[in-house]
Subunit: 253 residues, 2 copies
């Protein structure tokens, strides 16, 4: 890490650093570089606590509030090029991806082919709130480092354990867990089932639901009580499920 | 209503009908004309059941599946002008707004200054699923006829009773209801409070929460059990609350 603050202001979107930062808006390059971008001050503060920040980029004329070693100032024009946000962003950070982990958490959220970034981000925010600290996410789900995902998590992403994996293989390791498939077909109402302390909540794609192969890895089929013919947004259904099966001793009581 | 199918294809965005339809993308004109636009076939089918469809607009070359009297064909170029969607839309309908109603529903959702269209739409979808059939929405909330709101409701909007109002005035009429303010400050945990059958769930702005004046109209303060220092998306919090206090006899059991 450069041990100085770079004082010259970068004004060209043709600048090599800018070109490389800009590439991180694409999953392909995030995977290649093992880096991602975050916007907004509170997210950068959270990332600094986790020691994953590599570079901070500040819009020309804005206060250098982070006093981070490797800081660059750029024109707003360059900033806009790096931001996926409509409103003008003042601070952006380049972060290294979180280390993937498989922990012994009692509460696990498994996501099969979730496609909408807002839904994924909202689910991760709820997961942290209800003690679901281990997240399993299928290879074919939306990238957790998508900027809209990170924004929707409100920083929760930095406090969870992730494993991007083949769910069919990985769920086999949870043989002492109740693995709950949330689905409308031949399932029991959530309020009527008895579940042990160790639980995996499995959620499927917004349109297609849980894939057959993943569904077959689950040992309980559950549905949320609701009016007939209605359905719920997947982030809502998953959050209600996580609230219902939450880590009780993690409540503030 | 014109009693014929208009066979000529409208190709100009300068066409007077097109100009008038296009204005409905703005709240100001939706309010003025008491009309709004919907996209996607399943939403149009729902709207037809409610007899609120005035005109159906079909992209040139697409099948006239609705056989609706007042139908117009337009070029895809005109269609894109009328659509707020990124992907190419094939069917759009002009609908008249729903009649506002105040019903005697036991389950009421009151929304104070909700700003995000996706959050509002998701809340309405959950409200229908859990039997909260009366919606009170503050004057300064996002418009329920915003296209993104309607899309997020997945059609639920056509089956709910709405009243856009001054919440402080309107909540006074619910004197035999438990009026629950969902808030983190000096409140009781949701699982610990006893609530009667008639309940109003009050939710506030994404950032600022419930306004002081509306908060003072509530007779119980409630919070959802979660890890300390965390927070939930308002659509998630509201949906968990509605699930918890749902119309039990409306469950499919």
């Amino acid at each position: 890490m450069d041990m100085y603050v770079n004082n010259e202001v970068i004004s060209s979107i043709q600048n090599e650093r800018v070109k490389n930062w800009n590439k991180l808006l694409l999953k392909k390059y995030r995977d290649e570089k093992n880096e991602f971008l975050i916007e907004e001050e509170h997210l950068i503060e959270e990332a600094l606590k986790c020691n994953i920040v590599k570079t901070i980029i500040i819009s020309e004329g804005c206060f250098d509030k982070f006093k981070f070693d490797n800081t660059f100032f750029v024109t707003q024009n360059v900033m806009n090029k790096l931001s996926s946000n409509v409103s003008e962003v003042k601070y952006i950070a380049v972060c290294k991806k979180l280390d993937e982990k498989l922990t012994s958490s009692n509460k696990v959220l498994a996501l099969d082919r979730i496609q909408d970034p807002g839904n994924l981000g909202t689910l991760l925010r709820s997961a942290l709130a209800f003690g679901f600290n281990q997240i399993l996410i299928s290879d074919n789900s939306v990238d957790i480092y998508n900027e809209k995902v990170i924004r929707s998590t409100q920083g929760a992403i930095f406090h969870l354990n992730f494993l991007r994996c083949n769910l069919i293989e990985t769920l086999k390791k949870f043989d002492n867990y109740d693995i709950l498939a949330f689905s409308l077909d031949n399932s029991n109402y959530m309020s009527e089932i008895v579940v042990n302390k160790k639980v995996v909540i499995v959620l499927g794609n917004e349109g297609k639901g849980i894939s057959k192969e993943v569904f077959d890895c689950c040992n309980k089929k559950v549905k949320i009580e609701m009016n007939s013919f209605e359905s719920l947004n997947v982030a809502v259904a998953g959050s209600i499920a996580m609230y219902n099966f939450r880590e009780k001793n993690s409540d503030v009581l």
